[in-house]
């Protein structure tokens, strides 16, 4: 796995070198690499800053650059279920499993994806929710389906309602032709774990550079303490919670005692 980004990167360098005989470098910096969930956490807006560095001695391209940032959260497996009517009652009759798909997925651009690259490139580079690879288990097989598959549509829509899946074509602003700023809204229900940010630079409809960075969403302070206790010392945690319940009940009966 560690070889793949490297290979991809060198491939891009070669490809870029072959077609344009020049290469840009992307330098990015994230406002916060560790998002801490504390008791007053209601989501956080992250900012990604970056510059496009042209080759030494060259200037930025006259045609300008385009940028796509893909943020993927920790991978999880989900089951999408469809209800249908059986003897007058609506029951979950059909289900499909989405295997190891991102629990959070944001695809951001500086303008509509269709203007950045053609359909073929977008599909190849997984630009846009329609083109992102969502592996499904269909019987014994694994694979993505056509983009208008009802289960896929429903899955993306439901994750979107939770603000976990979205694409924003105007989330990235170029402050100068080479300096950009991207706003990444992390919702309150963002799953904990490590997130990966893939930044792809386009010019003239083709990808010319890419880089990535990462961030972590972790529970901190009281939230971390409770969550860890619940998982690691479940029985003790349960006893303490039950005792807490008894104390609350006893206190109330003392406070409100009338006789």
């Amino acid at each position: 796995m560690t070889m793949r980004p490297l290979l991809l990167f060198s491939f891009i360098l070669i490809a870029a070198g072959a077609t344009a005989a020049r290469a840009e470098r992307l330098v990015v910096s994230l406002s916060n690499h560790r998002v801490q969930i504390t008791s007053n956490y209601v989501g956080e807006d992250l900012v990604l800053f970056g510059t496009v560095e042209p080759d030494p001695g060259k200037t930025t391209r006259p045609g300008g650059y385009d940028l796509v940032v893909t943020v993927t959260g920790p991978r999880q497996t989900f089951r999408a279920r469809r209800k249908s009517r059986v003897v007058g009652i609506w029951v979950n009759a059909d289900s499909r499993e989405f295997v190891r798909v991102p629990s959070y997925l944001a695809i951001l651009g500086n303008r509509p994806f269709a203007e950045i690259a053609d359909a073929d490139t977008r599909r190849r580079l997984q630009i846009g929710l329609d083109n992102f690879l969502l592996t499904q288990r269909i019987g014994a097989d694994f694979g993505d389906t056509v983009r208008d598959d009802p289960f896929r549509l429903a899955f993306v829509r439901l994750q979107g309602q939770q603000q976990l899946y979205y694409e924003i074509p105007n989330a990235i602003t170029f402050l100068t032709p080479a300096v950009f700023r991207a706003a990444i809204p992390l919702p309150a229900n963002a799953p904990t774990g490590s997130y990966r940010l893939d930044v792809k630079l386009f010019a003239g409809g083709a990808q010319i550079a890419q880089t990535n960075t990462a961030l972590e969403v972790i529970k901190a302070g009281f939230e971390q303490y409770v969550a860890e206790a619940a998982v690691n010392k479940g029985f003790l945690y349960g006893l303490v919670t039950a005792l807490m319940a008894l104390c609350t009940g006893w206190l109330a009966s003392v406070v409100f005692r009338r006789d």
Binding site: I37, T38, S39, N40, Y41, V42, P74, R75, Q76, T77, F78, R79, A80, R81, R82, K83, S84, R85, G88, I89, W90, V91, N92, S95, E97, V99, R100, S103, F151, A154, F155, R157, L158, Q159, A188, N189, P191, K219, F222, E223, V226, A230, G234, F235, Y237, G238, L239, V240, T241, A242, M244, A245, L246, T248, G249, W250, A252, S253, F256, D259
Partner: protein, 307 residues
């Protein structure tokens, strides 16, 4: 004011949850029930994952029932012997219920089973309660004396062997129906995530002829023990109890319950039962509506696992 719940993994408005605790606590104090059948759906409605809701509500019920149990204890309204008999069978019932719960969950039909059992139980129990209390109300209005169920009146259940005497309740009944009732309450409670007091109280009254003086106090003890052990079990096995959510709920719940008890004591028994019957019936209808009417969204997603 928003506060982030560490296990439910979501922020909630602390005053909304406190208010829900107060409201359900008021109702539970008024009728002498735990209120789980109201609280669990309410929490699911505001977005708490159903499994976390069921697990956390159990500790909320433990708190309010302990507060109630202390009050009943002071008034000598608890039949300890009867409570212990019910509990011994109740634990077996809970174990069986948890086993079936796990089986159904693996078949992906747990939601349906919970929905169906809510509909069946709540509507039937609701209708019976409404019918009984309306009849009593009408009798009172026509000037007829209410049917008095003396502690000594017998049904076929009293003909069964293994008879035991429960002094505090002044009843002499076979252990078999006592165990049967304890088992079914434990079983139903584990599957539906409720304390079951709204089922237990009528069962004790109609089947065992337990007098009104001890029936609610005794059922409170059963609720207290089953819900406390459910809290520990849920925490130890599924790690789903949200202590922070439970704390907010129980603080609201115990305060609400105190006011509920006062309101309840000012009302006549029949009227109280009619109101509770209507409430139970309406919640049952709400579940029936969900099952029968085409849902807004046919699709739903569930996190299967972190792989």
């Amino acid at each position: 004011m928003q506060i982030y719940l560490p296990i439910a993994d979501m922020p909630v408005n602390i005053f909304l949850v406190l208010g829900m605790g107060l409201a359900v606590g008021f109702i539970s104090g008024m009728f002498g029930i735990g209120g789980g059948f109201l609280m669990t759906p309410l929490l699911i409605f505001i977005g708490v994952p159903p499994a976390v809701a069921v697990a956390s509500v159990s500790s909320h019920i433990a708190a309010s029932s302990f507060s109630a149990a202390i009050n009943y204890w002071r008034r000598r309204a608890i039949d300890v012997a009867l409570a212990l008999m019910l509990l011994s069978a109740g634990i077996v019932g809970t174990g069986t219920g948890v086993w079936l719960f796990t089986e159904l969950r693996s078949l992906d039909q747990l939601d349906l089973m919970i929905g169906l059992s809510y509909v069946t139980l709540l509507t039937i129990v609701g209708i019976i309660m409404i019918y009984e209390s309306v009849r009593a109300e009408l009798r009172a209005r026509h000037g007829q004396p209410p049917i008095i169920r003396r502690p000594g009146s017998h049904t076929w259940l009293h003909g069964l062997p293994l008879k035991l005497r429960f002094k505090r309740s002044k009843i002499y009944v076979s252990a078999i129906p006592v165990w049967a009732i304890g088992f079914s309450i434990g079983f139903i409670g584990a599957i539906m995530g409720i304390g079951g007091a709204f089922l237990l109280v009528p069962m004790l009254i109609y089947f065992l002829r337990v007098p009104t003086a001890t029936v609610i106090g005794t059922s409170t003890v059963l609720t207290l023990v089953t819900m406390s052990s459910a809290t520990v079990m849920h925490a130890a096995t599924n790690h789903l109890v949200d202590a922070l959510l439970a704390l907010i709920l129980m603080v609201g719940g115990v305060i609400g319950a105190q006011f509920g008890v006062r309101t309840g004591q000012q009302m006549r028994g029949e009227r109280l039962r009619l109101l509770l019957g209507l409430l139970v019936f309406l919640v049952g209808l709400r579940f029936a509506y969900e099952l029968v009417v085409r849902p807004d969204d046919l699709y739903s997603i569930r996190r299967v696992g972190i792989l």
